[in-house]
């Protein structure tokens, strides 16, 4: 088990540079981000009088500039280990020099990532997620495969050394794999509404973009509305087409994201890796898990499938950077109930099912129905009355269908919203189609927020938010008396608990 042999100590005690081939990765990384940020300034003036030579010259200039930046970054970026202090040291910067030293025990997890270029050149990006809000996240853009795994291995080893573990017993690695067939099933059954919303947003985004480019799309659009066929069958066909688009994009994105999903237990951690174009490896430590969340809809319930997301404590919670949040989030698509049970038990060791169940007030239903059902209907009635868009028969039909759907949705939202409290866990379930259940351990609560709108004071209703280091859970329209009792209970448990939250 002595992974820390002399050659490794010698190797990493001196300053190391990234792989020379890795400059390609750094270059493309920078180039893409520059182009992404400034493309809009290029495209709009280009559209009107397009000049290929000018464009090529511009791109070459940008490439040259990026190349210069890349060489500078490569030249002044070094990393090494101080084995005496157990510190990881990164030096970088040309004009403004930075020296980052991260104590090994502060490193929460080491992720090895690969994007398309990494894969092609057989390189890895090392990402170190650190605890503590003021220290920054350390990432080394491109190193060779052997170095990447050496660093991961010996840092894990040094970290584990501090915590005494019984290696013999826990070294068995049981793995969980999600096969291609399950991924297809997951892709076909998940995230209908999010993807639909995304497609609609994309559609309007495209319209706005066309508008910015000065293309007049309104005549063709309005002629479609006027002359298009809006009979019953035509509408059915449109709906089916939209659904097909949703299915297709879900299927593709699921497969690209989670291709070859595998999770294996190593010592105390769960190591998860997945991805078709870029492979991600995430290490999950049960102590750092804050929120265990799983989503299941009606179809998935029938075929015994659910999507699990595990939120770990992340160092950069305060800064809303998506990258760091993504790094601390573990996705498990298409798990069946026994997988779910295995993972849950692996993280929490136990589960007590003696639950105290709390339901929201009926206001949750009526207020929702009023806000998304009645108010838009009144607005629509007004608009229709003034501009005479629809014949009265069509209006009544659409209005009735809309209200019926909203009635059903608000009822489901109300009915599915359940909070249950047991000895160690709090569980909140919500949603109308995709039903998400979030579970937190009581002793991992960081703070509690009780909020109340003034008009609910007389009704004795309030909302409860429980915050952990990996996200929060919220339960609204709750009886104030019960809320006070359970928050006192939670506070008491947090305050007497000796267990650490991370």
């Amino acid at each position: 088990m002595s992974k820390l042999n002399k050659s490794i100590i010698q190797k990493f005690s001196v300053e190391q540079k990234q792989s020379k081939v890795g400059m390609v990765v750094i270059f493309f990384d920078k180039f893409i981000s520059i182009v992404k940020n400034y493309a809009i300034f290029l495209i709009i003036p280009m559209w009107k009088d397009f000049d290929l030579i000018l464009l090529i010259i511009l791109i070459l200039l940008i490439a040259l500039f990026t190349a210069a930046l890349t060489v500078i970054e490569f030249k002044y970026f070094t990393f090494q280990f101080d084995f005496n202090k157990n510190d990881f040291i990164v030096k970088k910067g040309f004009l403004k020099k930075t020296k980052l030293s991260v104590p090994l025990n502060k490193i929460q997890q080491i992720n090895l990532n690969q994007n398309f270029i990494h894969k092609f050149l057989n390189l890895y990006e090392i990402q170190m997620d650190t605890a503590g809000s003021d220290s920054k996240e350390v990432s080394i853009k491109a190193v060779k495969e052997d170095i990447a795994f050496e660093i991961k291995d010996f840092t894990d080893f040094l970290k584990e050394k501090n915590i005494d573990i019984d290696l013999e017993k826990s070294n068995e690695s049981k793995s969980l794999e999600i096969d291609f067939y399950t991924l297809i099933k997951t892709g076909l059954t998940s995230r209908y509404f999010q993807t639909l919303g995304f497609i609609i947003a994309l559609f309007f985004g495209a319209l706005e973009y066309l508008d910015a480019l000065g293309i007049n799309f309104i005549p063709s659009f309005s002629s479609f509305i006027k002359n298009g066929n809006f009979g019953f069958i035509a509408i059915l066909v449109y709906i089916i087409l939209i659904f097909l688009a949703v299915f297709a994009s879900n299927l593709i994105s699921t497969i690209i994201k989670f291709y070859k999903f595998s999770a294996s237990k190593t010592n105390n951690n769960l190591s998860v890796s997945y991805g078709l174009i870029s492979t991600k490896t995430i290490l999950m430590n049960p102590n750092k898990v804050q929120v265990f969340s799983f989503t299941q809809n009606w179809i998935q319930k029938k075929i015994d499938l659910c999507n699990i997301i595990i939120y770990q404590a992340s160092s950069n919670m305060n800064i809303s950077s998506d990258k760091s949040k993504e790094g601390s989030k573990v996705n498990i698509p298409g798990a069946n109930s026994s997988d779910k049970k295995t993972i849950f038990e692996f993280i929490y060791k136990s589960f007590d099912d003696n639950e105290f169940i709390i339901k929201p007030n009926i206001r949750k239903f009526s207020v929702n129905f009023f806000l998304i059902g009645v108010i838009p209907s009144i607005l629509f009635f007004g608009i229709n009355h003034f501009f005479e868009l629809l014949s009265s028969l069509n209006y009544i039909m659409i209005q009735t269908i809309y209200l019926a759907v909203i009635l059903f949705v608000s009822y489901r939202l109300y009915k599915n919203n359940i909070m249950s409290v047991s000895k160690n866990f709090i569980k909140v379930q919500s949603g109308f189609w995709d039903i998400t259940t979030k579970i937190i351990e009581i002793h991992k609560i960081q703070s509690i927020v009780i909020d109340q709108e003034i008009w609910y004071k007389k009704l004795n209703l309030a909302n409860l938010t429980l915050c952990t280091a990996g996200g929060m859970i919220r339960f609204s329209y709750m009886d104030y008396f019960i809320l006070r009792k359970i928050t006192d209970n939670f506070l008491f448990k947090v305050e007497v608990s000796n267990k650490s939250w991370m």
Binding site: S133, I448, V449, I450, D451, N489
Partner: protein
């Protein structure tokens, strides 16, 4: 202690309640700062209105409606200053602290001492004039729930900071 937790019903009665606690208000002088801040934001929003009407090109006839509604909004906010001041309350207990505020949307934040990451005293320019300071508590739960008690005297803030730091130190041992 946690062994006693098997029977929820009984324990719920025994646990000290956060409900009937008498909370202390903040320093009277702070109301000056509140009025000043509101005044500043009022002027900024009016300037914003003027600029947006002039340059973005709102329809002329709507401009009065925009001005009037902005002024009404600020009149309401100004008239609620006194209540808003009275609603800002805090209390330090043996194991946690509690801060509540808000007029229309009231909120109460509770943080146990053993979950506080660090705490800091902030003093702005105006606060220095009135010898006030704000005491902020940071947790790992994110900025949404960090408590910032504004309008303490500098001395009180220092004192509470010492008090809570001592509590945290004690818990760590």
């Amino acid at each position: 202690m946690s062994k006693n937790f098997s029977n929820n019903k009984i324990l719920i009665e025994n646990i000290p309640s956060a409900e009937n606690i008498i909370m202390s208000g903040i320093e009277k002088k702070y109301i000056n700062i509140m009025i000043f801040n509101r005044f500043l934001w009022c002027i900024i929003s009016l300037i914003g209105c003027i600029i947006s009407i002039k340059y973005i090109g709102f329809v002329e006839q709507f401009s009065y409606i925009i001005y009037i509604s902005t002024l009404i909004l600020w009149a309401v906010i100004f008239s609620l200053t006194g209540i808003s001041f009275k609603r800002k309350k805090y209390v330090f207990r043996d194991h946690d602290l509690m801060y509540s505020s808000g007029v229309i949307f009231t909120s109460t934040v509770l943080i146990p001492y053993n979950r506080i990451q660090h705490l800091a005293i902030h003093q702005g320019f105006l606060s220095r004039v009135f010898d006030l300071a704000s005491l902020q508590f940071y947790t790992a739960g994110g900025s949404y729930t960090d408590i910032s008690i504004k309008g303490l005297t500098k001395m009180d803030a220092e004192m509470w900071k010492e008090f809570v730091s001592a509590k945290i130190e004690k818990i760590k041992k």
